[in-house]
Symmetry: D3
Subunit: 154 residues, 6 copies
Amino acid sequence: MKMVDVGAKAETERVATASALIRMGSATLRRIREGQVEKGDVLGAARLAGIMAAKRVPDLIPLCHPIRISGVEVEVSPGKEGVHIQATVRTVDRTGVEMEALTAASVAALTLYDMLKSYDRGMAVERIQLEKKAGGRSGLWERTAVKPGKARRP
Amino acid sequence: MKMVDVGAKAETERVATASALIRMGSATLRRIREGQVEKGDVLGAARLAGIMAAKRVPDLIPLCHPIRISGVEVEVSPGKEGVHIQATVRTVDRTGVEMEALTAASVAALTLYDMLKSYDRGMAVERIQLEKKAGGRSGLWERTAVKPGKARRP
Amino acid sequence: MKMVDVGAKAETERVATASALIRMGSATLRRIREGQVEKGDVLGAARLAGIMAAKRVPDLIPLCHPIRISGVEVEVSPGKEGVHIQATVRTVDRTGVEMEALTAASVAALTLYDMLKSYDRGMAVERIQLEKKAGGRSGLWERTAVKPGKARRP
Amino acid sequence: MKMVDVGAKAETERVATASALIRMGSATLRRIREGQVEKGDVLGAARLAGIMAAKRVPDLIPLCHPIRISGVEVEVSPGKEGVHIQATVRTVDRTGVEMEALTAASVAALTLYDMLKSYDRGMAVERIQLEKKAGGRSGLWERTAVKPGKARRP
Amino acid sequence: MKMVDVGAKAETERVATASALIRMGSATLRRIREGQVEKGDVLGAARLAGIMAAKRVPDLIPLCHPIRISGVEVEVSPGKEGVHIQATVRTVDRTGVEMEALTAASVAALTLYDMLKSYDRGMAVERIQLEKKAGGRSGLWERTAVKPGKARRP
Amino acid sequence: MKMVDVGAKAETERVATASALIRMGSATLRRIREGQVEKGDVLGAARLAGIMAAKRVPDLIPLCHPIRISGVEVEVSPGKEGVHIQATVRTVDRTGVEMEALTAASVAALTLYDMLKSYDRGMAVERIQLEKKAGGRSGLWERTAVKPGKARRP
C-alpha cells in the first residue's frame, strides 16, 4: 500500500464531474421547495459543505494526493425522487480530481440528510458516481460512453 | 441556520448503524476476493478510513455537534453486486451519531472507489442509509420498521 | 506555557456572545441588500462559516481546550456602516466558550471579506469583542458593565 | 455559489500584507512589556498561531482555494493602544493571499485575547484590514492609496 | 479492526506522562543555549507545537478516541546529549491519554528537528516512551516499575 | 520566527527517506508475526497512518510549508529488536520533504504503540532519523556519509 508517485506525470488541466441523488419522500421535498425547513436554507448549506469537502479529500481518503484544486461547483436541485447533486472539480495538477468530485457530492448529500433527518430518517443516498473526467494521460471518460450491458448501474 | 442547542438533553448511550453498497463489475470483485488489487488490502484500508471519517464529522457537516464517540466498527464485505459496508458508531452524549455512521460508511465506500478506480471507473455507491438508531429522546428507529410497500424509500 | 488543567472545575452550562462589524462602503452594502453579489448568498455563507469555525478553535488557538460545544448561533445583519455579526456559543463543560464565540464572529467577518473583496478591498473588520459570558466560576460578565471611562471600546 | 475556477490564470508571485490591532488597557500592556503574563510568552505564541492559521484558510473560508504558501511573517508589537499585528504572506500561485494574511492577523489577535483574557475581558480586536497586495492580474493595491478624507473606509 | 467501545467505562481523572530526547551535536546545543538559532525561540515553538499536537491525536492515530483533554504541559530542556522533552496530558474521560502524551512529545521533537535541521541533519529522536500513567481501570503504570532485565529500554 | 520564503527556489524533484524503530519485547513481536494481535492488522494500519500523517505536516509543524506531496511509501517490518519503519516521501516543489518523511515514520510508530499498548506499555520509539535526502539546492545528504567519530548517530 502506498501513495503512488505522480511526480513524473505532466501538470495538465483536469476536470471531473460526479453526481448523487438523495432520495426522500414527497412531503420532505415539498418542504424544501416551499422553504419550510426549520433548519433554514438546506440547498445553500449542502452546496457550501460540498465545496469545502472537496478540499478535505487528502485528509479523508488515505491514498489521495494533496491537490491544488482550481475550481469547484456544486449544483443541488430538487427533482421528482429527491434532491440531485452534481459536483464539478477542476485542477491543473499531476493527478485527477475524481475523488474530489465524488466526495463533494457525497458530503453535500450527507449535509442534506443531516438537516432533514428530523422529518425523514428513511432517506437514502443513491448513485454516487463519476459522470465524466477529462485531462491527464487516461484522457476522457464519460459514463454514457460505458457499454450498457456492463452492469455498473444500480 | 444554527447548531441547535442540545445542552439541556440528557447524556445517554446512543448507537447508530448505517450501511452502503459500492456496486462494481464481477471482474473487480474477483480481484478483491483473490487479493489481486495492486494497491493492496483495500478492505482493510476502507475500514480504517471509515473509522477515521467518523471522527471528522464536525469538520464536514456544518451543523453537526462535536461528539465524544465511544466506539466505531466498520464491516466491509464483498457480496454479489459489490462490496457491502456497515458502520456502527456509539457514544454517551447529548445527541445521536447517525451522521457519524453515515459518514463512516460513505468514506469507506469512497476509499474503495479510490483504490479500485483504475480497474473500473463505472462503480457507483448506492443506498447509503441509516439502518437503526437507538438511545436518546426519539428512541429506537429501525429501517425494517418502515412499511414494506414503500420499499426502502420513504 | 501550558494548557491549564481544568479537570477539577465543575461541568456547568456556559454561554458566550461575541460581536464584530465589517465596515464597508455603501455601494457594497447595497449589493448585499439587493442580492446583487456575484458570489451568491454572502450572509448565509458567513453564518455557516462562523458556525464551523467555532468547532475549529482547538486547532487554531494554541492553548484552548477541546470543548463539547452544545449550540452555536451566528447572526449576520447589514447595518449602516457595514455588516454586524453576533455569535453565541453554548456548552456544558469545564471551561468557557469565549474563544469559540470570538472565532465564529471573526471567521464570519473574514468570509464576508472574501466574498466581497472584488468590489471593495478597503473593507475592515472592527470591534471583534466579547459582549457577554455566563456560567462557570467567574460568573457573569457583560460589556455594558465595563466602566465607560476605560476607553477600551473604540 | 462556487469556488471560481482560477485554472487559466498565470502562476505568478503574489504577496499580501494585513494588519490588526488588539486594543487593551495599559495594565495589561504593561504586563506584556514586562513579561509578567502568567501564560508565558504571549507575543511568541501569537506569532506562531498566526503563521499556522495562514495554512488553515482553505478549511475556514468556504470559497478559498488551497494555496501553496511560500512564506509567512507575522509581527506582533505592543504599542500605545494595544498590540499591533502585521502579517505578510507570499505565494507563487494562481490566486492571491489576501485571505491568508487577514486570517493570520486575526488568529494572532485572538491568541493574544485568549492568553490575556483572565486580566481583561474587555479587549477588542480592531482594524483587521488589508494593507497591501501585489502580483496577479489586478496588480498592486495599497491602503495608503485610499483617499484620506474617507478615513479608512473605502 | 475497530475503535473499541469505551462507553461502559467510568469517566475518571486520568493522566499520562511521556518523554523523548532529540540527540544533537554540541554545536547545535550551544546555539540553542545561547539563543543563536536563526529561526528564533525553538524551545517555545516546540512546546507550543507539542501542546497543539496532543489535540490532533484522533486525526492522526486511527483507533484513538476523541478525548476531552483537560490539561497539557510540555517541558523542553537542553541537556548533555540533546534536548529532553517531557509531556504530561490530563483528562476526565473514559479512556487514557497515553497517545496524547506520546504524540505531544514526538511533535515537539520533530519541531525542534525542523527548526534546527539546517545546522544538523544528523539529529535523531530517541526514546519516545511512556513514563507514567495513572487513573482508569488498569491503574498506575510507571516505567521504573519495569523489570531491568527486560531490555526494552535503550 | 517566520516561515521562510521559498518562492524564489526552483521547483525540482525532491525525495527524503526517514526511519524509526519501535522496540518491543519478544512476546509482542511474536504476536505481530503470528497475526495474534487482537486489534487486527497492525502493520497495515501503521502504514496507512504513516502515509496520512505525511499529508498533515503543515498542520503539525509550525514553520513547515504546505507541499504538494507526489508520493509516499511506508515500509513496516518486524525485526529482532522490534518493528522497523522506513518512510519515503517525494515531491516536485520548492522545498524538501524531510519533515514529511520523519512525521510519517513517527506516526506509523505511534500507531503501532497504540495498537499494541495493552500488551506492552514499555515499548519505546527509537532512532527517528533522516536516512537520505536528494534534490534541491543543498543536494544529496546521506546518513552513511556522516563521519563515524561523531558518535551522535546510532
